[in-house]
């Protein structure tokens, strides 16, 4: 209960301050955010887009860890957790992709550019899509759990390669990549004033807590459904 309220307050604060605090070229007061040349108002997306992207990766790793546990123990409870995490991951991944595309339109003129980070989030989306397609194709629970867990593991194993090859191949538009035309530097460390940093990390924490909360809800719902099925 306390967690829910804290989460609600935190998220509201992040949203209000992230969107509402004014930006000025020479911030004086604690509530003034700096203007970043080239980004200006669009910088606000940092508070929302980055956490969702971050969470879609965290969810994927969570899903993989539970997948490994399922394969080792054959306890369907782990599979419930694995797919609950993946479902949330898919949602955050879609959010990240969409917020990213909208921002891209405003900043670079087009919705999609095959910048390395855009491509990475797209690949993650493909992996989630494949995972759920596989799950929907298998009817028997135990087999569904085994096969999708195996896929989650093999996907997780190949993802690091993708992270390594991307920067070699493509210069990027994203703030922080090697070809960034605006020279705005790496996303987190540059030019974020202390108060921006506070809001940013608060947002990160808030979204992570949101994930935790939604995850536990989904798991509990799935467990109740499973118990009902057993009785019936």
């Amino acid at each position: 209960m306390v967690l829910k309220i804290t989460l609600g307050v935190l998220l509201t604060a992040v949203i209000v301050f992230g969107i509402g605090l004014p930006m000025s070229p020479h911030p004086q007061a604690w509530y003034e955010l700096p203007v970043i040349p080239g980004l200006e108002e669009k910088a606000r997306i940092i508070f929302f887009h980055v956490p969702t992207a971050w969470l879609s990766v965290v969810a994927f790793l969570t899903s993989m860890v539970y997948a490994v546990q399922y394969l080792r123990t054959r306890d369907l409870g782990y599979d419930i957790r694995s797919s609950a995490a993946a479902g949330l991951g898919l949602m955050f991944c879609i959010l990240a992709t969409v917020t990213g595309a909208v921002w891209a339109k405003f900043n670079w003129g087009s919705y999609w550019n095959w910048d390395p980070r855009e491509t990475s989030i797209f690949v993650l989306l493909l992996i989630y899509g494949a995972y759920f397609s596989l799950r929907s194709a298998v009817e028997v629970q135990e087999k569904r759990a085994t096969l999708s867990s195996a896929y989650a593991v093999i996907a997780a194993v190949t993802v690091p390669f993708f992270i390594f090859i991307m920067p070699r191949i493509m210069p990027g538009l994203h703030p922080g990549s090697k070809g960034d035309p605006e020279g705005a530097g790496p996303v987190v460390d540059f030019k974020m004033s202390p108060n921006m940093r506070v809001i940013f990390f608060a947002s990160l924490i808030a979204f992570t807590l949101l994930f935790q909360w939604m995850f536990s809800l989904r798991v509990r719902a799935a467990q109740i459904e499973a118990r009902n099925q057993q009785r019936g």
Binding site: R74, E139, V140, Q141, E142, A226, Q229, Q230
Partner: protein
Amino acid sequence: MNGALRLTGRGLRKEFDRRTVFRDVDFTAGAGETLLITGRNGSGKSTLVRIMCGVLSPSAGTIALEGAGDPHLRAGLVAPYLQMFEEFSPLENLQIGAGLRGMHFDAGRARELLERVGLAGRLHDAVRTFSSGMKQRVKYAFALQHDPAVLLLDEPAANLDEEGIALTRAVMAEQRRRGVLVVATNDLADVETFERRVDLNAAR
């Protein structure tokens, strides 16, 4: 006869899709004994057979075979749902069977075995061209080639004529001399005698 040979199952339970097929199944059988598995259609006879072969894991409980050698040399299975490699001949199937098990293939002994199960003259024809009765004989040869410690027969008389049923009886008698025989069937006439029994009708 291997006196140390013993097949034991304790507290075996299998669930599929939240549905319990059977639970609390216990049994034990030693060399020279026949274990009979009975139960209605759908009671899980074939599931239990698969678990005994080691190709299916139980949801709970343990199964163990003591006193036998390599895992892949322990069990032989003859069942309607076990297919041979039908694009190959019976002799080639035996060669594949030996190779898969990591065993040296003795073509002479294989020929003898195939003749004993009544396939003389069809040694080199593709199994695809055989009748179901003859395919059953190939399955017997495939299962017996490595002198299994445990021979499992699921519906042993399926597809067989009188001659074939005589063959089955001979095989069963021989296995009782060698090791453990497991028969899953609803037709008690299939077995001449049995020492142990698992009735899956009572295990739901």
